[in-house]
Amino acid sequence: MKRKSKVLVSAVMAGSLLLSGCGSAGGAETAAQTAQISKESSDAAQPAAAEAANAAQDGAPTVITWLHDSYDVSGLDNWYDALWVRELESRLNVDIQFVDVSSADNYDNVVNLTIAGDWPDVIFWDWSKYSGGLDQAVADGLVVPITSNPAYSAKVPHYLDIVENNDLMRKALTQADGTISGFAHVEESAQRNAYSGYTIREDWLKRVGLEIPTTVDELHTALLAFKEQDANGNGDPTDEIPMSDRNSLNLIKELGAAWGLIYNTMQLDPETGKVNFWTEVNDGANFRDFTTTMAQWYAEGLIDPEFTTNVQDDINAKVTSDRLGFFHSNTNRFPSYNAILATSAANPSDVKLTGLERLSYQYNPSKHLTVATNLKNWCAPAELTVITKAAEKDGSIDKILELFDYMYSPEGQILMNWGVEGESFEYGADGKPQWLDKVTNDDATLNSDKVQEYCIPTRGGFPKVMSLDAWMSIDCVGAEAQEALDRNWGADKDILIPSITVTGEDAEEYTRIMNDVNTAVAETFLQVVIGEKGADAIDTLYTTLDAMNIQRAIEIYQKIFDAYEAK
């Protein structure tokens, strides 16, 4: 019924647009589309018998309305169809009613419209998108602060135990006033966040007679050889792309680590250990050298000229057509790359993708720095599930806290990461959970969708502990991927600052300065790299950055970082 009325509304809208003869791109339509959210009961997905049994045991289940972005997994229509949701409902005697979000792309708008109207009991969101962050959402009376109320704290012992025992987690989740209000997906080990890094074709290196590069110079030599020789061995020395990147510059950003620089964000200075901005490290010498080196590589034809517009699919196509030698990759892509290269490569039996160790820092070769901030994030500090005042008002908050804590408990961790014993996994001889055949579907590589019918080992966004083993069994399969994971994780983390939401009195000034600064730097960096502008543009950039008051921004961030460290 609901769907029908939607179709009708859009037909009328389209009709009147045509008739009135002047459509326009405006906010109104977007709002109208995203406003089409409605609450749906989960009755259909509930096994009626189990529900009846529960009701007999503990009375009627507690209804919990929950705003979460929509389910995008093939094979499932919505969250209710997943085993873990049904299990939670029957184990805790709750009735979770997910707010139906029809438009996944506009989740931010959906949240804004929802909290401008009737609040659901539970909201998952990236709270850095709320003006003033989570602190402000608590101050505005939307979010219930948890640890400032002893009665609430007492209900979530498992969660608080996990958080209190990890310094990085505790600092990330504790707000300015010392309370914790959000429920994060936390890591069993931050190693899980080491899933991305740079990858080289080791078989290409062999063919051109080179070792695995460990320095910028060695990498440069390897890329030159890829360009000049027939590295893929198909008889054509011109079809190799030595290195390519996505429009989001994943690879180039990671290469910046060899100069001790994190692209366009605040970082710790590799020399002084203090907060600094990448253009300012060593009075700008590092930035200048990095930028001009990339420009030189681009001019030499080592970097794919399409990199500014490439999306991941383009990279995948270049890798799997045996044309790309050096690229950025996540560990979960190794199996599919290998599977396709096994038929497409000129010499399939040689193919070897190797995750590189981080290159030596140009100014101190014993360091192998990384820019992967996530390695210091043991939880997503702003992507949090919170309980709203609505739950306090209707009295469901106690049950919600009980539910959340269960999700962090040892029993709950198994359910969230592995599902139900006998249904999705069984314990092996070593006492560790192992997937049943029907989950892995006899195909150990492409099961990331199938598994989500049972549980969510590869997904955050809910109160849960991310199990490293469960995650690896899906997203880090095979020796090459696991080796890459270890290498990514083994990098030096000296320049990383964990994600901190900038709040407080100086936040506005900081944001204003950095908005302008980020635009100026991103623009100049790319223009110099692709040769649209010469190296003198870097001098102009420095004048501009001073005018924008970059030093003031660094000062503000240092203060915020000090406060974070003091937590």
Partner: protein, 314 residues
């Protein structure tokens, strides 16, 4: 309508006339109802939301609960480092679009109108509308593919012995890419209104012109174009009324950091800084400012048009 009949209608009360007209034109009122409904629901009702431009809007507090901050967001926007560039880019793209995107549909409509073979004519029209119905995301990725370094355009250049150009990263090309791709998508659709106007051009006048010895070109020049001039002026005025607005969707789908110099317009800037940062008040303030300018320019040009040609929107 006969003079006596007109007099009769004018003599009746408004309500009586409305009732009579309603009885006679029920279907048309039915159609108009949905148009009106659209404007009330999606164009007038949301106007109340403009107040958030003067508030520090936070959804949880609602429209009424958010604190007033006066002209804070306007001041912040005017002190923005990139304001001159944003205005320049917005105007460049819109003026190019006004001239190219505004005039070519007229030319196209005139050409289509001259086609005598009905099936061929209908085919041309349908084919030209089609791109309008491709979603923006798909259309932009088609464009990016065509202009990419190894794309169709460069393959063509290489075939002709020319060097490949990285169109997507050269600031000078961006406005042209924007406008020409817009033309591809909207040419056919925008010509519909002119084709409608052309079908109303008096056949008698055209015949008379032919008898007087006008050739086909002269007939178009002296009969057809003057007949559709009011439509042209109205359509142009409506475009001028959007001179400060460029939708952000297409911009952010087409641009990259290398071309910000010519590609960053007000709406894309606001999208990055306002919407992505959750600062809806800031976005509202900039939009409000843009629309005030739009309305002022529209009023100005409407007045000029009324003086010069006697044709105006109101």
């Amino acid at each position: 309508m006969k003079a006596s009949e007109q007099k009769l209608i004018q003599g009746e009360s408004f309500r009586a006339r409305l009732y009579k007209d309603w009885k006679r034109n029920k279907a048309i009122y039915g159609i108009a109802f949905f148009c009106l409904l659209y404007y009330v629901v999606f164009r007038y009702a949301p106007m109340g939301g403009i107040v958030i431009a003067f508030k520090n809007y936070r959804a949880a507090l609602g429209l009424a609960g958010s604190e007033w901050v006066g002209l804070k967001w306007f001041k912040e926007f005017f002190s923005s480092f990139y304001l001159p560039r944003l205005v320049r880019n917005t105007l460049t793209i819109n003026l190019l679009n006004l001239v190219i995107g505004g005039l070519t549909p007229i030319l196209f409509a005139l050409l289509v109108n001259e086609i005598r073979h009905p099936i061929f004519k209908r085919t041309v029209q349908t084919v030209s509308y089609m791109p309008h119905f491709i979603s923006m995301v798909v259309a932009c990725s088609i464009v990016l593919n065509i202009i990419s370094y190894n794309g169709l355009l460069n393959q063509l250049r290489e075939f002709l012995g020319l060097e490949a150009i990285s169109f997507a990263t050269k600031p000078a090309y961006f406005p042209w890419i924007y406008v020409i791709s817009d033309l591809w998508q909207e040419l056919g659709f925008n010509s519909i209104v002119y084709l409608a106007a052309l079908s109303a051009v008096s056949a008698e006048l055209l015949d008379a012109a032919a008898i007087d010895g006008c050739n086909r070109f002269q007939r178009v020049l002296h009969v057809t174009i003057p007949a559709i001039t009011p439509t042209i002026i109205i359509m142009m005025l409506m475009r001028i009324g959007r001179i400060m607005s460029v939708g952000y969707e297409k911009i952010i789908l087409l641009y990259n950091d290398a071309v910000l110099e010519t590609a960053d317009v007000m709406s894309s800037f606001v999208y990055r800084y306002g919407m992505l940062g959750g600062n809806y008040s800031y976005s509202a303030a900039v939009d409000l400012f843009n629309n005030v300018i739009n309305v002022l320019i529209l009023i100005l040009f409407n007045r000029i048009s009324r003086k010069v040609s006697d044709i105006s929107l109101w």
